[in-house]
Symmetry: C2
Subunit: 339 residues, 2 copies
Amino acid sequence: MNISELGEFPLIERIGRRLPPYRNDVRVGVGDDAAVLEWDSDTYQLATCDIQVEGVHFLPESITPYQLGRRAAAINLSDIAAKGGIPQHCLVSLALRAELEVSWIESLYDGLREEIAGYGADIVGGNVSKTEGPIVVDLFLLGEVSREEVLLRSGASPGDVVLVTGWLGEGSAGLALVQQPDLPVAKEEGEQLLGAYLTPTPRVWEGRAIAQSRRATAMIDVSDGLSSDVGHICDQSGVGVRVWADRVPISGPTRRVAQLTGQVDWALAVQGGEDYELCFTVPQKAAQELAAEVEEATGTTVTCIGEVLPAEAGRWIQLPDGGEVLLKRGGWDHFAAGA
Amino acid sequence: MNISELGEFPLIERIGRRLPPYRNDVRVGVGDDAAVLEWDSDTYQLATCDIQVEGVHFLPESITPYQLGRRAAAINLSDIAAKGGIPQHCLVSLALRAELEVSWIESLYDGLREEIAGYGADIVGGNVSKTEGPIVVDLFLLGEVSREEVLLRSGASPGDVVLVTGWLGEGSAGLALVQQPDLPVAKEEGEQLLGAYLTPTPRVWEGRAIAQSRRATAMIDVSDGLSSDVGHICDQSGVGVRVWADRVPISGPTRRVAQLTGQVDWALAVQGGEDYELCFTVPQKAAQELAAEVEEATGTTVTCIGEVLPAEAGRWIQLPDGGEVLLKRGGWDHFAAGA
């Protein structure tokens, strides 16, 4: 069996099962947004990595090296944000073709540096290799979080509600614009969507505000698509979920692109990946106040989009007409056929 | 200018100059074997990454996935060893082609896991991406070291001598055998060299013993070739050096391969990379005792191969006939013409 037949997530599960038991200082290992490691009696260290491969995650003709640097940094920052953490130190691994211009690498580094520094972290090392193939930009990011504030995928309970930051679907709509630049979208709207796709904003400050409230129960970033990422929370918390399609926050420009490309807007927003918003769960009673606090602290909207159910109640999307469909993993699987 | 014209080390220097000043908790950033970061009042954290690219660092037909896993782990462990550190946590980034067999990945992971676990560390996370190009195996390894024991590239002084663990040149001789499998070398000798090249032994225990002695002044691992790596110590310590060619430890099998391939054996040993031995400096008076202690503790031979000079005295190799030649960077530059 090859890995496209098995699929990305089963592969990761299968690899995880082959690993020996962790030492005592590993709170969470393979299978969350970041590893959670003992630091001192008050603090955990967070460690994550995310790789960007030319032709898979980006096309050089559609993204500048500066944007690529910002994007690679943002994707890793988002993993630290999903744990409620503070980014600290970054290492950069590059595989580059020998004929690449030095100015290209410098622009890439400018983007990396500015994005990383924007959240108070440092690039402290890395390595550079030649390749004959696609460019690879692989970042390793360390962060920290108080033990009392850390958020995992595994803490959601029935009675919680599901909230998200920002808009969903802008990443997918931006990708559609990259693939079909002729779509008749107003210039400003197009720029908004392309910006969301090419240089997403990691929700570091929002993640901190959510974690510091100590009222959220689980969190993840929406990198693979909400349906897939909510599914990860369900898997690891042992719960079910109902997402209300008509509550999913979808921006005007995203609705326009959905219409122009013949997609149902909520389906685009729920299935599409690349949003890098935070999805988190909170006891129902605390949700409204927490959402208001995060909006107040960060200026980012927070929307309640669903409710956590017992596992046996299943995973559902409630459609605008009141009907329900199964919430299926519809997001990004690198090795799925056609992905 | 493209990066092959500039070269790997000038590129890294140029990137380093574009980075902002580090925060206070970065003891050493870009430009050593590993970043050295504040942990607590007694301890530094070490962080390193090293990437293996198919077609550049390995050919699938010459290395099994299990060996590749062990090799990728060993190369990163060697960076922690070079600081005198204890390996702790590892993240694994993979770019894989969709048609790769799952069993191939599992064997790769078996090699990674066994090598990492052999030094007491854990694989705690990572990510997997599709690629249409060369396989990429990128590891990120964290470790720790006592503040009083950490060894940098920058501590050597005139009056120190230069020591190395194990044999030099076996990595290069093994690579020659991979490239020319018909070389008439005895089976056992061939296996020794191929083992040294394909699955080098990181000198973690030796690094610990050297660091714990608190008598060494600088250390580096010989990954790019002794001439290049001793040059890094000279650059960062502001010193010169004289390496005595006839003292460089060269094994019988390496001498055989040098002869069969028309190379001068000491030149092969000094210029060749991929050895992953430790090269360190010690005040001359302490050298013999320290070498004996390390040999006693680890079973690995330690050889004195040169002396540290003032910077203005230059960098030299003293030939077996007493003549001297300039010690030039002759090791591995990924982007050098023909590399």
